[in-house]
Symmetry: C2
Amino acid sequence: MSSGTSRYESPFGAPEGAVPPRLVVVGSIAYDSIETPHGKRERVLGGAACYFSWIASFYTRVGLSGVIGRDFELELLSPFRERGIDLSGVQSDTENDSFFWRGRYEGDMNSAQTLETRLNALGVYEPTLPAHYRKAPFVFLANTHPAVQNAVLDQLDEGAFSCCDSMNFWIENEPDELRRVLERVDGFFCNDAEARSLAGTTNLIHAGRKLLELGLKFAVVKKGEHGALLFHREGVFGIPAFPTKDVKDPTGAGDSFAGGFMGALAAAGEAGAEQLRAALFEGTVMASFTVEGFGLERLFALDEGSVAERRRQLRDFLPKAD
Amino acid sequence: MSSGTSRYESPFGAPEGAVPPRLVVVGSIAYDSIETPHGKRERVLGGAACYFSWIASFYTRVGLSGVIGRDFELELLSPFRERGIDLSGVQSDTENDSFFWRGRYEGDMNSAQTLETRLNALGVYEPTLPAHYRKAPFVFLANTHPAVQNAVLDQLDEGAFSCCDSMNFWIENEPDELRRVLERVDGFFCNDAEARSLAGTTNLIHAGRKLLELGLKFAVVKKGEHGALLFHREGVFGIPAFPTKDVKDPTGAGDSFAGGFMGALAAAGEAGAEQLRAALFEGTVMASFTVEGFGLERLFALDEGSVAERRRQLRDFLPKAD
């Protein structure tokens, strides 16, 4: 905050009437530099909130909240606006550059090697949600400092169904603050290593059940190429990943999974066992597209027809229920 | 061979009429000493052929072929005989002890640490199939030296649908002999590391497809707690592992999986895409029991009712197809 006036600007206005989104995502908007065995890209659009909101917009009315830096090219978000994603929650930091991440994937590409992280604007940002976002019935807090996640939770209407992601860094360095987040949200997304670490047990099924004891309605454990598990109060669901032949870049797959999952829940309007099971399927469908291209490349070309066809292919891949 | 007479005896006679089994398994019969975080057992019955034949007997008429040593307590196989498993292919080596394996599982128990292997009788054994085994329509060659697998294939009727397992040791040390096996059999079972190693590629979907190029009708890639993939000529199927809460001992899970899979195929009498998909489900059901006890403990107590209930539980765990 410099000399009493906010250094933040809101470059995008609210849509007419400022109708509350069905689903709000709060998370990073980034420049990513990515290298995989299939090629490299310099400073392409990335960040959890971008993957999530793009995917979720296939299901419901989405509002995006996040910070961009003074170096950010606003036209990168034009496709989001054209898809009807509410960008009034995007704030521009006039003093810092955008969050930047450089990473590399090797071998089986199951985990990224971070080569460089410059938090920049993200490191000092506390989101302020536009008034109409606070009435959204579904909210997703992408990975960030758990204190920031708690500050966003403070802004929400009481009835909001809220879910969050996190990462090993916060599990190790901010366990108490993260625990307070997990006690407040309804659902949690993490990967298998994070689930084991948080629950303090090597058996993933035990780990998932222990997470529920924090008060969560569900916990999704993402396992990359091995699919995902969903623990809820009545049981467990499991799904293998779609068998993508040519994984070009796994960046954003987890956030796309969450976008499909939460988008499906928001569209259903409830989160009972059957809606959660359907959401697991949708998350798997959507993540399978993300890895087919670098950054958001494949997603920008995605249409309803391709999604319907992929749903059919995933059904064919799964064991028949009878 | 000592002084012109075979040192092998056949302690079990053929069943009346020597009716050919629907499914023959050729593989190890062992004494296993196992240690896991949940306990330990000394010199319990083990070996791929024991797990496989016990499980497969829930589906079809099974014939077991394998060698036991002079130290072997024959009554260990009484339960097999009582279940109607044909033991006339079990040969006793009068000069050597039984195959012995000592292993330990730690942490997530995804892979065994071999502490001791004494091949004993298994190291010098070449199976001779009883005449009525050679007419079996389905045959499974459990992991052993690929030259032995080839020698068994030589004994089979031409129309037999044959499948095999192998291990990294043979992939590395007998690649040519193993390749000759893979060019002759219809189906192949391996784990994910073996698939990657055999195909020379890190992407499992690529690896599975490359295995088919050897002429296989299908390849199953077993991924332990992450389930299994099935590659066949029309596509790929995937299934997550059953979410077992208390894995006591993973020994034999892969062989039980194969037993359920091949048992289902043998019962169906054909191996088209739909039968393979159903077989993948059955393998997953059956492997889930094996890990619930040490050695064959849980399997000896298994009944049709528990299997039916587990099928229902696995269906509930999987994503709905629609």
